[in-house]
Subunit: 157 residues, 2 copies
Amino acid sequence: MKQHGFLAVLVILLGSGCTSRAEVDLASDRAALRDAVESYHDAASNKDAQSVVSMYDDEAIMIPPNADRVEGIEGVRNYRFGFIETAGVELQFETMRMKIAAGGDMAWTLAVGEVSFQQPDGEAGSDRVRDFHVWRKQDDGSWKVLVDIWNSEFPAR
Amino acid sequence: MKQHGFLAVLVILLGSGCTSRAEVDLASDRAALRDAVESYHDAASNKDAQSVVSMYDDEAIMIPPNADRVEGIEGVRNYRFGFIETAGVELQFETMRMKIAAGGDMAWTLAVGEVSFQQPDGEAGSDRVRDFHVWRKQDDGSWKVLVDIWNSEFPAR
C-alpha cells in the first residue's frame, strides 16, 4: 500500500508538473506574441524600417501582392516597404485574430491596416490591407515573423 | 534499491512513451496533411466546388484580394471561387512549403497556382496565384483549412 501510495503521488506530481508548465508557457507565449505584434505595428506606423526588419525570422518569406516572393532576411532587408516608400503614408493596424499552436512554437495573426497616402497626382488616397503573419518562436522566447502575406480589400486600381 | 529500480523503470517508460507517441503522431499528421493538400488541389483543378468547400474548417476565414473577408463555413459555401466562376480556367498547383507545429494541431502550406483562363474579350489570360493556408487538425485526425489568403504575383490589371 505504502509503495502504491508513493507511486500515485509521483505520477500525480509528474502529471501536474507537465500540465502547469504547459499552461505557464502558453500564457507567457501569448504575452510575448502580443508584445511582438504591438512592436511590429508601432515600427510600421513610425516608418521605422530597421525595427520592422528586426521583427522577421532569418528564414522569413514575404509574399507581396503583384510582386515576386521575397525569401530570407537578406531579401526582407532589401525589400522596399510600401509604407516607407510611399509619400505621406499614415498607417494604423488593428489585430483581428491571434492564435498560438498548443506546443507554443507556431502562431498566426491577422491584422487590418487602414492606410492613407498621397497619390502621385497629389490627391489623397486610401487602402485597407489585410496583413497575415505566421510567427515562429525564437530560442529566447520572443516571436518573429516567418511568413508575411497581404492583400488589399479595395478594388484593384 | 528494488523500489528505486522500479521507479527508474517507471520514469523511463513514462518518458519514452511520451516521446515515441509524439513521433508517431507527427509522421501521421504529415501524411494526413499531404493528403489534404493534394485533395484540395485536385478538387480545385477539377472545379469541384462541393469538394473544395468540404476542405474548410467550420470557423474558416477566407481573405480574397480586392474583396471582403469571408467568415465561417456558410460564407465559404456562398463564395464564388474564381477558378469555378471564370470561363475556361485551367489551374495547376505546386506546393512550395509545408510546416506542422510541434503539437500537431496547426500547420501552414504555401502553394503557387498557375492559372490560364479566357478573358471577357475571348483572349487567353494567365495568372500566378500564391495560395497560403493555415490548417487546423480535426478530431478525426484529418486537416481542414482554417485561413485562406492569396494574392497574384502578376502586376494588377
